[in-house]
Symmetry: C2
Subunit: 355 residues, 2 copies
Amino acid sequence: MTERLGPGATIGILGGGQLGRMLAVAAARFGFRSHIYDPDYTPPAGQVTNAVTRAAYDDEAALAAFADAVDVVTYEFENIPTGALDLIGTRRPVRPGRQSLAISRDRLTEKQFLSGLGLRTAPFADISGADDLSRAMAGIGGPVLLKTRRFGYDGKGQVRIGSGADAIAALDTIAGAPAICEGIVDFSREVSVIGARGLDGAVVCYDPGENVHKGGILHSTTVPARLSSDQKVEAVLITGRILEALDHIGVIGVELFVTPDGMVVNEIAPRVHNSGHWTQTGCAIDQFEQHVRAITGWPLGDGRRHSDVVMENLIGEEVARAPEIAKDPSAALYLYGKAQVRAGRKMGHVNRIVG
Amino acid sequence: MTERLGPGATIGILGGGQLGRMLAVAAARFGFRSHIYDPDYTPPAGQVTNAVTRAAYDDEAALAAFADAVDVVTYEFENIPTGALDLIGTRRPVRPGRQSLAISRDRLTEKQFLSGLGLRTAPFADISGADDLSRAMAGIGGPVLLKTRRFGYDGKGQVRIGSGADAIAALDTIAGAPAICEGIVDFSREVSVIGARGLDGAVVCYDPGENVHKGGILHSTTVPARLSSDQKVEAVLITGRILEALDHIGVIGVELFVTPDGMVVNEIAPRVHNSGHWTQTGCAIDQFEQHVRAITGWPLGDGRRHSDVVMENLIGEEVARAPEIAKDPSAALYLYGKAQVRAGRKMGHVNRIVG
C-alpha cells in the first residue's frame, strides 16, 4: 500500500471517452494532472488535459512509457486487455486492480463470482454450442437471453430467445463467440448502487438510483429510488460485499433487479458508471471525485445526497435538444465534446434537481 | 449579437490562473473546448486543456493568432491591457466587453462610474500628489485609504493613513503611481453578489454571500449572508443596475458594504469571483458554467441555491491542511494545481455544506 499522492501527481487513465473525460475533470478539480491513453485519434477526454498518448492497448512500448509518465493508473471501461494491466502493473499501481477488471468484463466469470459470494443472480449456463443451449433452455425454462461473455454494453451482444425454434438463429447472431444463457428475471424495477472503496479499505455508497432503459441503453436514473428502507440496506450491503471480495479500490457500479424475493445482481462495472452521473448535481463529492480520492489514497467523501435528482441521457440525435433543455434554468447540462453524432452514442446528459 | 455557439466551439481565455482553470473545466463540462492565453510558462489552466498560447499581452501576432483560433474571448482578470482586447475585438467577440474591463480595472473610473449611477461609494478623490492628498484628507475627515488606481487586488496597492503625519510616507509607498484617496466606510459586514447577464440581456443573481477577509485577502464566504430581505433585494438590484449600465455579458462580482444607511459599493470585478466559488457546491449551475453560458449565447441558469455553504480559501501554506480537510467527508476540496506555494498565493479552497 503506497502513500497518499500529493497534489500535482498524475493520474493515468486508460480510455478517453466521456467517463475518462469526467474523471480527468475531477482530477483537475482536486489538483491532480491526468494523462489519457486511448487508441482513438481524438478522444473526448483529450480535450481536457495536456497529456494524451494515442496508442493501441497492445503497444507494449507505449504502455510502458505511459506508466512511467504517471503515478497511478485507472481505467474508464472494462474491455481493456488484462495484458495491458499486467504490463503497467509491473511499473505503477493499477486501481482498481486486475481482478476487478478480469471478473467483470466476462459475463460468465462475473456470474460465477457473484454466485460464489452467495448473491442471487439470474440463472445462467456456459454456452459453447447448440447442445449447451438447448440443455440450458430446458433447465432454466421459459424465454432466455443469449449473451456473449465479453464486449457487451448498452444492450450489445445479447439476443432474446423465445422458444427452441429461435435458438439456432440466436447462435448465428453471436457468430460462435463464447456465450452464456441467462434466465429472464421478473423484476419490478432496476436500481443501481454506486459504491467506492478507499485504499484504507473504507467503503462508502451513494443512495441507490432507479434506472430506466430504452433500447438496451440507460435512459434515466432517478434518486431516490422507490425502495423500502430494508431494500436500500440490502442493496448497499450487497455492494459492500462485492467491493470487499474484489479487494476493489475505486468506484464500482452494481446493477440490481428488485424482485419480491429480494435483490438479484444483474451486473457490475468496476468503474464510474452512467447511473452515477446524478451525483454531480446531487452530492458535494461526486462519483468522479470519489474515484480520484480512492485511487490516490485520499479519504472518501460520505456520499451524502443534498437533493433529489433525475439524470437523463442524451443519446445520438437527442443531443439536438440541448438548447431546449438549457432553457430550463435549473437543468445542469453535461456535453461530452463528441464531434460525431451516431445512433446510440452517448453525447451528454442532463441532471435536474427535483422536488 | 451573434448566434449561440454550438458544442465543440472554442472559448479563448485570457489568463490561466485558477479562475481560468475553473472556467476551462466548466467549458469542458458544457461540451466546449478552451484555449488559454497566458504569459506564464506553466499556467494552472494549461493543465486542463490541450490548447495553450504562451505569449505576452502586447504580442500582437500571438494575440491575433489566438483570436483566429477561437470563437469567443473572455478573461479571468481585469489587469489586461485594453489594447489586447481592442486587437482581439477586431477579430472575435470579446465578452464581457472592453467597457467592463476599462472601468473596473481603475479604481477612479470605477468609483466615478458607480457614483454616476447614483450608487453609494466610499467618499473618494483623485490624487496626483501631496497637495491633492491633504485636501482630500481634510474633505473626507478621519483616517483614509490611499490606493493605487490600478493593479490592486488581495489588499495590494493600498495603505491606510491615520493622520497627516503619515501622508508623505504613504505617498512614498505607492511611488508616484496614480492613486485615489478613499474614506473608510463604517460597515457591519461585507457581502458580495455574483450576477450574470446573458447575450439576450437576461440578468440572474446568486444569493449574496458574506465575506470575511484576513490580511486583505478573502478568507471565507458564507451563504446565506446575514441580511434582511430588504437588504438582499437592494444588493441584487444594485448588481442588476451595474450589469445593465456596463452592457455586461458574463458574470460579475459586486462587493458591498452593509451600513445602517444602506449598501455601499466597494468594488466590482468583471469576471467570475472568488466569493462565488461556493456556487460550485451550492447550486446546480455554478458561476463558471453561468459565465460560459452567458458568453456563448446560451440561456442562463436561475442561480437557485439548494444548500447553505461555507467557502474557505486555502492561502499559501494553508494548503498543507488539505489532507486534514479531506477527512471531513462532506468537504468538497478544490486545489489549483499550483506547483509553488507562496505566502498570500491562493492554492485552493474548500466548500462545506452546512446546516
